[in-house]
């Protein structure tokens, strides 16, 4: 995993503790590998008038949660979220709400790998060459530096899956705008498909990377660099719903 990936997990853990949402993050791996979004609203399945899918690129989690953490600190510093305050405990649940009946669910853009030909499986593992340990290349450096290139998340494929299998009419892809998309599908194509079905695809771009889409692209990415931009983007989701036929 990249340094960014490591930081993401750490940032996520710290933020959850800050929020008092630790039970999920302290759950076992089996539970963690399940569906986080469902845990937040544990109970009977809600009646969903519409479904909003969140497709987060792993690299987007850290900058996203940094924005959330800053916001929470600010609220607490202004006395609205003091720890131990009963009202404060429910604060995170009340922030960035959509309309009643507007359901969110998370679709992770990564899947377990499957070898197409089990006969060849032992030749398909990612391996490094041999490295000789020497003064200029100590063992601890090899341990720290020799890492596999992370496989690209499949954002467009996951967005399509969210609409086709998950029934989402609104799909929000959270990305950093850099890196590659390992999808077979094209994001613009998925956006057109969603539009033809009466839905919309939103691209929220976190971090400092520039946004570059082709002129023909129907997608209008939103740069999310702070709380205001995030709130505006969420408001747009509500507005879309209200203007939908």
């Amino acid at each position: 995993m990249s340094a960014m990936g490591r930081s993401s997990l750490l940032a996520g853990g710290c933020l959850a503790l800050l929020l008092g949402l630790s039970p999920m993050l302290l759950a076992s791996a089996d539970e963690r590998s399940g569906n986080q979004a469902g845990e937040v609203g544990a109970g009977p399945p809600p009646e969903c008038a519409s479904r909003v899918a969140l497709v987060p690129a792993p690299a987007a989690i850290e900058p996203l949660q940094a924005i959330l953490g800053k916001r929470l600190e600010r609220l607490r510093s202004t006395g609205r979220g003091n720890e131990g305050d009963a009202a404060a405990a429910s604060l995170p649940r009340l922030l960035l709400r959509l309309d009643d009946g507007q359901c969110t669910f998370v679709v992770w853009p990564e899947t377990a790998q499957v070898a197409p030909d089990p006969e060849l499986k032992n030749s398909l593992f990612v391996t490094s060459p041999w490295y000789a340990v020497e003064p200029g290349r100590p063992f601890f450096r090899l341990l720290a530096d020799i890492l596999p290139r992370p496989s690209a998340p499949r954002l467009a494929d996951a967005a399509f899956h969210a609409a086709e299998t998950g029934g989402a009419t609104t799909v929000v892809v959270l990305t950093t705008g850099s890196g590659t998309d390992g999808s077979h599908r094209d994001m613009d194509g998925v956006a057109r498909h969603l539009r033809s079905e009466g839905g919309t695809l939103h691209l929220w771009v976190f971090g400092k990377e520039p946004i570059s889409r082709t002129a023909e692209s129907e997608l209008k990415p939103r740069a999310i660099k702070d709380w205001v931009a995030l709130s505006d983007a969420v408001s747009e989701l509500k507005a879309n719903r209200e203007s939908a036929p």
Partner: protein
């Protein structure tokens, strides 16, 4: 003549088709796995389904029999042992008066790659190779030894070679090679060929030790995603602490003997090899009118996907077994990582022991128990634990020597004579009990 048309280069277990071919006078071909009859083909060519059972090194023999049931020819291929990434064999396709006149080159690469080059030489003189891989021999003196050599090259850059000698006083095939047998010395002085004497046996038959080597080792590491994160964090913190205190780059952290070679195998498949299925993990819906997006987004945590950890240890073992130096495999494992392997830890542990590859399992992470069939698992909870584990690893490699034994011997078939003390085949002390 008899030959395998199926070359088993990948890790093989369970039922598997094997194609064999023999010269025209063969009535049937029988197949023996580790000396036991496991299959039969009627006629001079056919396919038999062979059950290789759990993952283990094997010797597969094909024996061609005539009408009277007499053996005409016999060949062998070893399975689940290091062979390099390509293999080539020479099959006699035509004979005249018992002597070969046409050979066919059978080549296979583990990596998907095109066969791009074929060269053949008879007694040093170049011979043409047909597009089908046939080598037609010119007339030769049957009383003199003939040496046919072939080289093949694949588009991946991998090459392989094979030689056969025939004619003269030789049989159809002659091979001469030395086999590296990894040993662990428990005494103080390194054994020499003289002191090893008849210490090594194969099926009770003493083996001839030509030389003994000691030196830096080869190490193959397998790390899952979670243990990789833990290690990365420890190293980063330690290096930062070191820099703050000493103002110089640390060089003596986690020392291993200079010249030790390190290689990594990750429980990941290459991106272009893994098939892309839409098996995305999808969460349950939450009414965002009640629970805002803030809480949902704050709890986002990347799911831990199943990884073929145990299978990658088997591959690491095979790579380590290719080494002709002291060797070992280290598995760094977070017990909470789901494993999507086909083989069990017990099976793979037993496999490595039979290959003569010591396996060390280090457990990281704060919770969860490591599968007990991994055997002794060293728990790493701090940088200090890691440092001590690496020091023991270095000592473990230093305790090994390599004995060069004459002949093509399977390490799994080598044993220490019962009257020899202070010596064992590397990795055998880790031998797991029979797997259920």
């Amino acid at each position: 003549m008899v030959a395998f048309l199926t070359l088993l280069l990948a890790l093989t277990s369970g039922p598997h088709p094997v194609e064999v071919i023999a010269s025209g006078d063969a009535e049937r071909i029988v197949l023996l796995l580790d000396g036991e009859l496991v299959g039969e083909v009627a006629g001079a060519r056919g396919v038999a389904i062979i059950d290789f059972g759990p993952l283990a090194p094997h010797s597969l023999e094909a024996v061609a029999l005539d009408e009277a049931g007499e053996e005409i020819a016999r060949t062998r291929q070893r399975v689940n042992v290091p062979k390099g990434v390509a293999s080539v064999d020479l099959v006699v396709e035509r004979r005249r008066e018992g002597l070969p006149t046409v050979f066919r080159i059978v080549a296979e690469s583990v990596w998907p790659a095109e066969l791009t080059d074929r060269e053949a030489r008879l007694n040093g003189g170049e011979l043409p190779v047909s597009p089908e891989g046939r080598v037609h021999l010119p007339s030769y003196d049957p009383q003199a030894v003939q040496l046919l050599q072939v080289w093949v090259g694949f588009s991946s850059g991998v090459t392989a070679r094979a030689e056969v000698a025939f004619g003269g006083g030789f049989g159809e095939k002659v091979e001469t090679r030395l086999t590296a047998v990894p040993l662990v010395r428990t005494g103080r002085s390194a054994p020499s060929p003289q002191t090893l004497g008849a210490a090594l046996e194969e099926d009770g038959r003493p083996l001839t030790v030509a030389a003994v080597d000691a030196g830096p080792g080869d190490l193959v590491l397998v790390r899952d995603q979670q243990s990789q994160e833990v290690l990365g964090r420890w190293i980063q913190e330690t290096v930062q602490r070191y820099w703050r205190r000493r103002l110089r780059g640390p060089r003596d952290l986690l020392p291993l003997a200079a010249g030790t070679r390190v290689r990594f195998v990750w429980p990941l498949l290459t991106a272009n090899a893994a098939s892309a299925q839409d098996g995305f993990s999808m969460g349950e819906p939450v009414d965002a009118g009640e629970v805002g997006l803030f809480a949902t987004l704050a709890e986002l945590e990347r799911p831990v996907l199943p990884q073929p950890i145990t299978d990658s240890v088997a591959v690491a073992g095979l790579m380590a077994a290719e080494s002709e130096r002291p060797r070992g495999v280290v598995l760094l494992l977070d017990p909470t990582t789901p494993d999507s392997s086909e083989h069990s830890p017990c099976e793979v542990r037993s496999y490595l022991a039979r290959l003569g590859v010591p396996l060390l399992v280090w457990g990281t992470g704060d919770s969860g128990e490591v599968d007990s069939t991994w055997g002794v698992v060293r728990r790493l909870e701090s940088w200090g634990d890691l440092r001590a584990a690496v020091a023991d690893l270095d000592r473990s490699l230093a305790s090994q020597v390599t004995a060069w034994v004459e002949g093509d011997v399977g390490v799994e078939d080598v044993a220490i004579a019962s009257d020899v003390a202070g010596l064992e085949i590397a990795g055998t002390s880790d031998f797991a009990p029979p797997c259920r």
